[in-house]
Symmetry: C2
Subunit: 553 residues, 2 copies
């Protein structure tokens, strides 16, 4: 074939876009999921929140009502902040804000007032929607934050909240005064790479960074989540995962895409969780190992005989937790990701061959972070020169990601964006190994590694060894300065109610599973572990404690 002919063919193929008037292309957006489910399942229950129920038709109507009110108050591209627990309004906002042309900023409700101010200022949010539970904490912010026009209060009568803070506009008032319009809302968007939400990182170092998600990324991540967690139109999803964490791992969009039911939940406590599981036939929920633990150790806990799938991340579930949940008939899907990756990026795909392993070995396989989800590009683990580490399950390196499941960038922070994407890959800052089977295993958040006598000690590994003792409910391991070794590990342990173990038996138990040099020098038994607003143990606080026991004589 002559090259001229070849070029003519290729030109013809690409020109076709013009002649088809764009009828063969639609910008990817998760808005399409609600439009579709409202059309197909108008009378199906979409939102359940206490006695409040919405069908999918009502879901769409409520979203449009809220979108019209927001559109009247902002310009396209403006940020709209929400500070709320998992009430229906925050779920609606995941559709209403982009439908109004805005960008959703869901703020962690566990943050202090100053941290909230930092986010409102950095994002230049025009509107702040606040749930009555937190309204006192944002009192007067409309005067403090230059960009902030209005604070709208979500007054949740279902849960007995009152009349609203003075100076806040009750949401119902805002909705009622929105003029009817002949300008219809657009469910299509022009550019799938435009920003749909900004999620602020927890900011353990420096100021919080605003992670930008795109319509395309959110759409693809949602489809991937629906696939891996097997969501379908008969699914019922319980909102134990805060929607302000990575937009609830994109689950507001994924569950809606599948036409499943959302069960909203103000407080993540064992009693309402188990009531929902039993009364509402919950089939899916997500959460950190703390949520798993809340469920497994609840007084209401019991074996269930229908499918329930818990997707967990944040820290590897311990082998004992996995065994515990499976014994109750609960299937655990272990995923790994971070704010910059729309939530989950990898999933520990279960291999049939693991069926024949001992429960311990099997749990160890499942507790690894796994492989890229179906919509994500392959993960890399690299050394400091960005060369892949050997796939031996031993060599520690940084976990790198790329593709549609990675954020657009940090909002108004080009330096941080450049640094995060050095070399054309997103740098997670997490350390892990690549196993021979291509599964990654997280060994530590970059800053949490303990280097003792030149050997790396993974605190995660030490924590798993200690928490495998039946008396242990929770544990945190950190380093302390040692003249001889540079650094040595120490452990903070929370015991299960009614159980006891002394330090020497516990350390002896740990010696049975990990190398001697990794075993902590001492144990401090505590009543509670200090945590950040996002639920991570604040290890810096533990490291700072000077509690080294006097040497034994």
């Amino acid at each position: 074939m002559f090259l001229t002919q070849l070029h003519a063919d290729i030109r013809e193929m690409t020109m076709t876009f013009a002649t088809t008037q764009g009828a063969n292309h639609a910008a990817l957006t998760p808005l399409s999921f609600l439009r579709r489910s409202a059309e197909i399942y108008p009378d199906k229950e979409a939102i359940i929140y206490g006695r409040r129920r919405h069908t999918y038709r009502e879901f769409r109507v409520e979203v449009e009502r809220l979108a019209l009110a927001i559109r009247a108050a902002i310009s396209p591209g403006d940020r709209v902040a929400f500070l709320a627990p998992n009430v229906p309004e925050l779920l609606l906002a995941h559709f209403a804000v982009p439908l109004a042309g805005g960008i959703l900023v869901a703020i962690n409700s566990r943050l202090a007032r100053d941290e909230v101010i930092t986010i409102l200022d950095h994002s230049d949010a025009r509107l702040l929607f606040v749930d009555s539970e937190y309204s006192a904490s944002v009192r007067g912010l409309a005067e403090t934050c230059p960009a902030l026009d209005t604070i709208i209060e979500i007054i949740d009568e279902e849960f007995g909240h009152g009349a609203g803070e003075a100076g806040h506009t009750p949401l119902e008032v805002m909705l009622a005064r929105t003029a009817t319009t002949t300008d219809p809302l657009r469910w299509e968007i022009d550019d799938e790479n435009s920003v749909i939400t900004i999620n602020y990182t927890s900011g353990t170092t420096g100021n919080p960074k605003g992670v930008m998600y795109t319509h395309r990324g959110a759409y693809l991540n949602a489809l991937g989540e629906a696939h891996h967690t097997r969501l379908a139109d008969d699914s019922t999803f319980l909102w134990t995962l805060p929607m302000f964490h990575c937009n609830g791992w994109c689950m507001p969009w994924a569950v809606t895409a599948a036409g499943g039911a959302h069960v909203c939940l103000r407080a993540v406590r064992s009693e309402p969780i188990w009531r929902a599981i039993d009364d509402l036939n919950v089939t899916h929920l997500c959460g950190s190992p703390t949520v798993c633990s809340t469920i497994a150790n609840a007084p209401e806990a019991h074996r269930i005989d229908r499918p329930l799938r818990i997707t967990t991340a944040g820290a590897p579930p311990t082998p004992s937790m996995l065994e515990h949940l499976e014994a109750m008939g609960i299937q655990v899907v272990h995923v790994y990701g971070l704010t910059e990756a729309y939530g989950p990026y990898t999933v520990c795909e279960y291999q049939p061959a693991w069926d024949s392993l001992s429960p311990d070995s099997r749990a160890r396989m499942v507790s690894r972070q796994g492989v890229a989800m179906v919509q994500a590009e392959p993960v890399r683990v690299v050394d400091e020169a960005m060369n892949d580490v050997p796939r031996d399950g031993e060599a520690l390196g940084e976990i790198l990601l790329r593709g549609n499941n990675v954020m657009l960038g940090y909002f108004k922070d080009e330096d941080a964006t450049n640094a995060a994407f050095a070399g054309g890959w997103f740098h997670t800052g997490d350390l892990g190994v690549m196993h021979p089977d291509g599964y990654i295993e997280l060994k530590d958040r970059a800053k949490d590694i303990i280097i003792s006598g030149g050997e790396n000690i993974s605190t995660v590994e030490v924590e798993a060894a200690i928490s495998s003792h039946p008396a242990v409910l929770d544990v945190a391991v950190v380093g302390f300065a040692s003249e001889r070794w540079g650094e040595r590990p120490k452990a903070y342990v929370l015991l299960r109610p009614g159980r006891a173990v002394n330090e020497s038996s516990l350390l002896e138990h740990a010696r049975g599973t990990i190398a001697r040099f990794k075993v902590p020098d001492y144990v401090v038994f505590v009543d509670t572990l200090p945590r950040t607003a996002t639920g991570k143990v604040t290890k810096a606080a533990l490291r700072a404690l000077d509690d080294v026991p006097a040497p034994r004589t």
Copy 2:
């Protein structure tokens, strides 16, 4: 907020693409599905074909071997044709050809030699791969078709085919002589809107048209299919649907995305189908109602007690067929689409409320074509002025589609492309109604409508009425010229083996379910119905038959 600030924000958001070096974007391509599954399920069975078995690792190795051989023989963008039944090589080709930079043209093996020549010439295919079963039919074509360099013969020893046609290169010879290369194959692509395959329409009118699919469209359709048919890594898919139909409705990519097993099948006969269902634990298959009928009416047919999901399209399954299959424990997913829509575009999503309907009413709901799949844009049914018809289940209109699930265009046929996309929507040429619940129901292929006394008669509806009689195996209804009415329907009926019914009882039965004016004037009992290469009844042939019985006296 000042407008200048707003613009600065938006500029900053879009600029981020540059600073991230593209690490937050990956071109969508179904190639990624095989790369991923080969990585995650290397030892899992991927392809089963008689005694031949390939794991996912081998699947990738075979694809790369084939891709290297193809790459050595073509230039980027060249078309590579396949003429084969559902043997593993055609499955490999769905990955190997695009991996080699080529465009796959899978030709319908039921076409006549002249029709094959037309497609080879129109597509300028450089290579033609032919299975031994069809090799005699393409003898000498390398001399006839100007662009065609080589014919490669797939010699299937498993099924006892011989040494290959003289002048054809045996595939194994081609693979063996491919020089080893240091230039690695690229699993990523540059432009997701580039063409991955060209599928030629059956061409009942005029010359066949080459329907161009893109990497993006194939990727999204595959994810949608996986969702709606609930494919997962424990799925086993039986290849009863020809891969040369719309690339097997994108199932080569969807099943691979899920990590399921492909069971290849040379001939769609009841015995090997039932053997696969029983011995290989098939969970999914696709096919026309003829495939459903083959399965349901087989001597081997029996009730099965594990999940088996049949996705069917091409014509609405009759209520009696649905009842028959469900009684055997088989779940039917009814989809609708066409070559220009990557295969399926709509799915008849099952509504829980239908559970309480009578079996007949329920079957009628399920036999509708339904709603857009999760990755597709909403369907329209419009009148001649392109206004939506009322959603009353009565008003007939043309079915229009748009979005990522619609072809790029017709290859080298700008006029046909323009006509198909008139007004910015793809015109299916199919007639249907929109029900109040938003489900479409196909009433007829545009040309098959019978207009009698100014009233439209849907032949599909009449066929359903007749085939609901227990003695009827198959039926085709067409119009014949009538002085009084313009046109009247007549029916060609194939009876079930061992069953009998006479004309008057059959017509009486039809009068029980459809309006009197729709009941055919007469019935011709036949041994077989004439069909095109794609399995559609050639109604033109039936219309031409002058078999009007003499008037009764």
